[in-house]
């Protein structure tokens, strides 16, 4: 039962990413060519809502659903892995037009070709696990 709320949140997320077309290869191409405001509007609105919400949570000391104080973990310090890893991900995002969320959503929607992207993403993740200690961080 405790998982139902996560299932519902996931369903809403899948629907909104599909209906906003953030899962669309076309929209990602259009975004990287600065030919539409659509994707920028989505990310900007989500971040504005997020910043306001996170500030409210922090300033009011809101507890989470189990009554525990909410703490949002800071990202580890550094820059090399963020810029290099980010750029590698960006190359993939620009090529197949899918970040990880949309990979799952599109497989669910029945796109067999994205199943190949999914297998690739698992391979890539595994590859990172193997090479982790040899990479600059």
């Amino acid at each position: 039962m405790k998982f139902i709320k996560f299932l519902l949140v996931g369903i809403v997320f899948g629907i909104v990413l599909t209906k906003s077309e953030a899962v669309s290869w076309y929209r990602i191409y259009e975004m990287f060519h600065f030919q539409s405001f659509h994707m920028y509007g989505i990310i900007m609105t989500a971040v504005i809502v997020g910043v306001i919400g996170v500030q409210l949570i922090k300033r009011t000391g809101t507890k989470d659903i189990t009554g525990q104080p909410i703490s949002i973990p800071d990202k580890d310090k550094g820059w090399k892995n963020y810029i290099i890893g980010g750029t590698i991900f960006g190359l993939g995002w620009g090529l197949v037009g899918t970040c990880p969320g949309p990979i799952f959503i599109l497989v669910g929607a029945g796109f067999i070709g994205i199943g190949i992207v999914f297998i690739g993403a698992l391979l890539g993740t595994y590859l990172y696990g193997i090479l982790k200690d040899k990479l600059p961080h």
Binding site: V16, W79, G124
Partner: protein
């Protein structure tokens, strides 16, 4: 101009995505999709020969449930909430794509040139899809997150590393989209 069965407006979509992230924080979790790839690697036994995958993946089951929901949501939205009127691109975009031999959307989410039945018989297309996936999987784990973990969650929490990662996303995306895609297609 906007309709429920067509493209949802950016301000509605962005608002709901922000709300999803805040809701997960309220549930005591952090919004992030790419970490599920690591969890899945662990679940199928990658921890046997690699430390990176040796962790209590079962503690991440909640996120796999989010992903399962997202898959169901994708199915519902494409099969029952779309009338084929969406994906109206900038006409300049369509012209550019046509010049590269990529079909116009005409309501489709993805080009037939990449995921169509005929395209999937082409070794070149299969290679593109596999390679793209590898870049996404490797890059997100190396960079510690994707669009949800860095661009939405990290920026909302004013994290400098997330801003650096997002700049990386765009460096990679711009190089691919402007320089490499025309060579590939």
């Amino acid at each position: 101009m906007y309709s429920f069965y067509g493209t949802w407006p950016w301000y509605v979509s962005g608002f709901i995505i922000g709300a999803v992230m805040l809701l997960l924080i309220y549930f005591g979790k952090t919004f992030g999709m790419s970490s599920n790839l690591r969890t899945l690697c662990s679940a199928v036994g990658a921890g046997k020969n690699c430390d990176f995958f040796r962790f209590d993946w079962k503690s991440q089951r909640w996120n796999l449930v989010v992903v399962l929901g997202a898959m169901i949501g994708g199915f519902i939205a494409t099969h029952y909430m779309s009338d084929g009127s969406g994906v109206n691109l900038n006409p300049d975009t369509v012209t550019e794509l046509t010049a590269m031999g990529i079909d116009a959307p005409e309501g489709k989410l993805l080009p037939d040139a990449i995921v169509g039945y005929e395209a999937l018989k082409s070794p070149k297309v299969i290679t593109i899809l596999l390679l793209g996936g590898i870049l996404v999987g490797f890059g997100t784990r190396y960079g510690g997150g994707c669009t949800s973990g860095h661009a939405i969650t990290g920026l909302s929490n004013l994290q400098l590393p997330s801003l650096i990662a997002v700049i990386g996303f765009f460096i990679g995306g711009l190089i691919m989209s402007w320089l490499l895609l025309p060579l590939i297609f």
